[in-house]
Amino acid sequence: MARYLLRRLGFALLLVFVVSSASLILTRLAPGDFTMEQGTTIDAAARAKMRAELGLDRSIGAQYLSWLGGVVRLDFGRSLLYSRPVNALIGERALNTALLATVSLLIATLVGIPLGVYSGSHRGGAGRSIIRVASVIGLSVPPLIGSLAFVLLAARTGWFPVGGMNSAAGATMSWAAWLADVAHHLPMPALALALPMAATLERLQSQATEDALREPFVAASRARGVTELQALIRHAVPTSLRPVLGLYGVMIGGLFSGSFIVEVVTSWPGLGRLMFEALRARDLYLVAGCAATGAIFLAAGTLIADALLALTDPRVSLEGRR
C-alpha cells in the first residue's frame, strides 16, 4: 500500500510539473505578452522598460529556469496582472472550485448511477426512454448554454440567486447562516456542471449494467433462486461499477476545465475565472499556477477513483496496480 501511494505521489508530482511547465512555455510562446494589455497607450520605450521590469525580456530558457527555481520552493512566482504572489491568488479561489467540483460530482453520481442502473436493467418502457432522451440532451448541451439556461431559470423563478457564491450580507453573517447562504447559491452552478456528467455516467452505467446482467455468474445466481432485484444489486451493480469508476479520475480532472465557463457565467469565484483572466492577459506565472492546480485535481481524482475501484471490486488490489 505504501509503495503504491508513493508511486501515485510520484506520478502526481510529475503530472503537476509537466502540465505547469507546458502551460508556462506555451503561454510564453503564444503571440503577444503581458505588455499588450496596455494597448497603444504606451510608447515603445515605455513598453521595453515594462518588459525589462517584469523580466519578460529574458530568453524563454532563462525565464523558465528562474520560474522552476521558485517552483522547487513551492513558489509559483508573482502574478503580472495582480502584482501578487500566485500562491495567494490560487489559495483564495481553489477552495471555491473544490467545493463546486465536489458537490457537482456528488450530484452527478447520485443522479447518473441510479438512473444508469435503472435504464440498464429495464428493457423497454417509458422510464428508460425518458432517461435516454434526457441523457442525450444532457450530453449535447454545452456547459455555456446549460449555465445560461440555469441563470435564466433562477432569474425567472427566483428559486435560486442568479449568481455568485454568497450574498452581499454574507460577510456579516454567522458561520451557520453563511453556510446556508453558500448552500443556497450552490445548486445553480453545481447543476450546470453536474448534469452533463450525470448524463455521461448514466450512459456508461446503463451499458455496464446491461453487460453485467448478461454475465454467466448473474444467470447462475438467478438459477439459484435469487430474485431479479437481488441479482441486480448483489451481483450486477458491483461489477458494472468498475468501468464507471475508471472514468472518475478523468472526470474529476475534467471538472476543473468544465468549471471554467460555468464559473464565468454563474459568477462563481473559482479558479476557472482566474485562469480565464490570466490567459487573456498572458499572465504566464498565473496560468502555470492555475494549470498546476488543475493537474493536482486530476491526480487526486485518479487516486480517489483507484481507491473506489479497489473497494468495489474484489478482483482489484492497489498493490497489484501499476
Partner: protein
C-alpha cells in the same frame, strides 16, 4: 417501446419546446413604436444602496501605478483630483481645489485647496499630498502609468506647495488644454504611502490584497469590503466634503455594491431580474428589444447617452517597408484605394446591419458626440459603387478575367487580409459587412479573427495588412490624444512611432497639431483642428464608418443621474445618485 409511452413522450417534448418558444418569444417581441414615457424625477433622498455589476475586478487600487477600468472606477469613488472634467457638460470644474489663477503666459496655475478637507481617517488633506503625488508619478522606480501623459515636450511639470492650501503647477512649455491636464492626476495620501515611496515599493502598494482598512478615501465612498471574485462594497465616507444645494451632505447613498459578473449575458439577466440596478457597460443594440418590456413596465430606464466618441477604426498598414516587395505595392497603400473603399460602404446600411440602427454615419475619428471638436464640414465619401469603381480603375484595378474580382495589369488580384478582435461581436460583424460590401466592387477580403493580445502584438510590430479595431480616446481634447495624431505617436495606428514623418500630409498634421496644442485661443485651436480633420479626410489613413449610439439600462429606483457617454457613464458623479424609497 410500445406506442402509448412514445406518444406521451412526444407530447411532453413538444410541450416543452412550445413553452421554451413562448418564453423566448415573450422576450424578443419588437419594441412598441414611439418613445417610452420618461420616469418622473423624484427629490433625492439620503440613504439606500445601489448595486451594479462589474465585468472584471481591480488588479490594484493604486491609480498612479496601474490602469484598468475597475481601478479607475474605484479611484473615482474614493479619491479625488484638484480639478475634474464634468463628463455630462464636457467642461472642467473645481474639485479638491476650489479655484485657480492662471498666469499671463498660461503656463502657471496657482490652485487653492478647499478649506477643511480631510481623508476618511480624519487626517487633514493638504498641499503636501499633492506634492507627494507628483513625486510618486515622476519617481522612476514607480513607472507610473500616467507619467508620460504628464510631460510636455518630454519635460515634467514643476509643482510647488508654498503653504498648506496652495499648489503652484508650472508647465515647461505652453500647453493649450491648460488646467484640463490635471484631470489626469488622482491625489494619493502622503501619510499612508510615503513609506512605500521611500522604500521603492510604491508600485506594489495598495494592491488588490491590501486590506480596505489600510486605505483611506477623500472621495464620496470608502472601500468597506473586497471579496475577490465576488464583490466590492463601498460605504459612505463620513468626511466627504461636498454638499447639495440644500446643504445636505453627500453622497446620498449609504452603500454602493459592485457584483463581479464576467459574462455579459448573465449580467443582462441580473438586470432583468432586479438583482442589480445598473451595469457599467452600455446595452448592446441587440439587447434593447429584450429590455423594452421592462421599460414599459416602468421597472427600467433606458437612457440614451448620445453618440460614442470612440468609433471603431479600419486601417491599412502604411509602413513603407510592409509593401516594398509586395506585388500589390502599386495600388494597395494608395489613398485612392482607401477612398474607393470609403465610397463603397453604405454607412446607413452598415449602421443598420451592425448596430441595428443604433449608430450614425461618420467620416472621421471625431464623432458628433465630441461636441466641441467635431467638424461637420470634413470631406465625405457618399455611398457610390460607380465612384468607387472609377477610383479603383484610376489605380489600375479592373476586372480582367471571368471571375468577380478586380486585378491589376500584372494580374494580381485586388485582395487583402483584415484582422479583427475575436469575441467582440460588433467588430466581427463590422468586418464581415465590410467584406460583403467590398465584394460588390470586386475587392476580395479575407477576414481573420485573433484574440486581443495577438492582434495588438501584430499592430505594434507592423505584421498586418489591415485591421478593424476599437480605440478609446483618453480625452475629448485632441491635444490630449496627440499620440494618435502625431506621426511619432504610440497610437498613430497605421504607422506607429515614426522617427520622421513618412509622408508630407503627416508632416502637415504634425505641424498643425503643434500649433493647435500651444495656442491659448480656443476658437483659433478649433479652426486649426478643423484643418487637421480635413487633411485626415483627404488621405483617409484610417476609415471610420459609424459611431454607435450609447444606451444604459438603469433600474427606475435609481434617480438623480447625470449620464455621460464617457466611462463610467453613470458613476462618474456617484455622490449625487440617490434611490427612491
Amino acid at each position: 417501446m410500445n406506442r402509448q409511452p412514445r406518444a406521451l413522450l412526444s407530447v411532453l417534448l413538444l410541450g416543452a419546446l412550445a413553452f421554451t418558444g413562448w418564453l423566448v418569444y415573450r422576450d424578443v417581441q419588437p419594441p412598441p413604436v414611439g418613445p417610452t414615457a420618461p420616469v418622473a424625477p423624484a427629490a433625492p433622498v439620503r440613504g439606500g444602496t445601489v448595486t451594479s455589476s462589474l465585468r472584471s475586478e481591480p488588479r490594484s487600487f493604486n491609480r498612479i501605478a496601474a490602469r484598468d477600468f475597475p481601478n479607475d472606477l474605484c479611484s473615482l469613488l474614493t479619491l479625488g483630483k484638484l480639478v475634474r472634467l464634468d463628463r455630462a457638460r464636457q467642461t472642467i470644474e473645481p474639485w479638491l481645489a476650489e479655484k485657480w489663477d492662471t498666469s499671463a503666459d498660461g503656463r502657471t496655475f496657482t490652485l487653492t485647496l478647499r478649506e477643511g478637507l480631510a481623508w476618511s481617517d480624519g487626517v487633514p488633506f493638504t498641499s503636501a499630498d499633492v506634492l507627494f503625488t507628483f513625486q510618486a508619478i515622476y519617481d522612476p522606480r514607480v513607472s507610473s502609468i500616467i507619467e508620460s501623459a504628464l510631460r510636455i515636450d518630454g519635460k515634467p511639470l514643476a509643482v510647488a506647495a508654498p503653504d498648506a492650501r496652495t499648489v503652484v503647477v508650472t508647465y515647461p512649455a505652453p500647453f493649450a488644454p491648460g488646467i484640463e491636464l490635471l484631470d489626469n492626476v488622482t491625489v494619493m495620501p502622503k501619510h499612508k504611502l510615503q513609506a512605500a515611496l521611500d522604500a521603492g515599493t510604491f508600485a506594489q502598494a495598495w494592491s488588490a490584497a491590501t486590506p480596505p482598512g489600510d486605505m483611506v478615501s477623500i472621495g464620496p465612498f470608502v472601500l468597506a469590503r473586497y471579496e475577490p471574485g465576488q464583490r466590492l462594497v463601498f460605504d459612505r465616507n463620513p468626511h466627504y466634503w461636498r454638499k447639495d444645494a440644500a446643504g445636505v451632505g453627500l453622497p446620498y447613498l449609504d452603500h454602493l455594491v459592485f457584483e463581479i459578473v464576467p459574462d455579459q449575458n448573465a449580467e443582462l439577466v441580473r438586470l432583468q431580474s432586479g438583482a442589480i440596478d445598473m451595469l457599467q457597460q452600455q446595452i448592446r443594440p441587440e439587447d434593447i428589444a429584450t429590455l423594452r418590456p421592462m421599460v414599459d413596465q416602468k421597472k427600467l430606464q433606458l437612457l440614451e447617452l448620445g453618440v460614442s466618441t470612440d468609433p471603431d477604426a479600419f486601417f491599412f498598414n502604411l509602413r513603407p517597408e510592409q509593401w516594398a516587395k509586395d506585388p500589390r505595392r502599386a495600388w494597395l497603400p494608395r489613398k485612392e484605394f482607401r477612398q474607393a473603399i470609403s465610397h463603397a460602404i453604405d454607412r446607413e446600411a452598415f449602421a443598420n446591419t451592425v448596430f441595428l440602427g443604433a449608430a450614425v454615419p461618420i467620416w472621421g475619428p471625431i464623432s458628433p458626440g465630441n461636441q466641441h471638436w467635431f467638424s461637420p464640414n470634413v470631406k465625405r465619401y457618399p455611398h457610390s459603387l460607380d465612384k468607387a469603381r472609377e477610383l479603383l480603375k484610376s489605380i489600375g484595378l479592373e476586372n480582367r478575367d471571368a471571375d468577380e474580382w478586380l486585378e491589376d495589369a500584372a494580374g494580381t488580384e485586388a485582395r487583402f487580409t483584415l484582422v479583427t478582435y475575436r469575441g467582440n461581436s460588433s467588430l466581427e460583424r463590422s468586418s464581415f459587412v465590410l467584406r460583403d460590401e467590398l465584394k460588390k466592387v470586386g475587392i476580395n477580403v479575407d477576414v481573420q479573427l485573433l484574440e486581443q493580445g495577438a492582434l495588438i502584438e501584430r499592430m505594434l510590430t507592423g505584421k498586418f495588412e489591415s485591421i478593424f479595431f476599437l480605440f478609446s480616446n483618453s480625452s475629448l481634447d485632441p491635444a490630449l490624444n496627440s499620440d494618435f495624431w502625431l506621426s511619432s505617436g504610440s497610437a498613430h495606428i497605421w504607422n506607429i512611432g515614426q522617427k520622421t514623418p513618412a509622408t508630407d500630409w503627416e508632416r502637415e498634421i504634425d505641424r498643425l497639431m503643434g500649433q493647435m496644442s500651444s495656442s491659448g485661443d480656443l476658437e483659433a485651436r478649433k479652426q486649426v483642428f478643423n484643418e487637421v480633420q480635413q487633411v485626415m479626410a483627404e488621405n483617409v489613413p484610417a476609415l471610420f464608418f459609424v459611431a454607435q449610439r450609447l444606451y444604459m439600462g438603469v433600474s427606475t429606483r435609481v434617480g438623480s443621474l447625470s449620464p455621460s457617454f464617457l466611462r463610467p457613464q453613470l458613476l462618474w458623479s456617484a455622490d449625487t445618485i440617490s434611490v427612491h424609497p
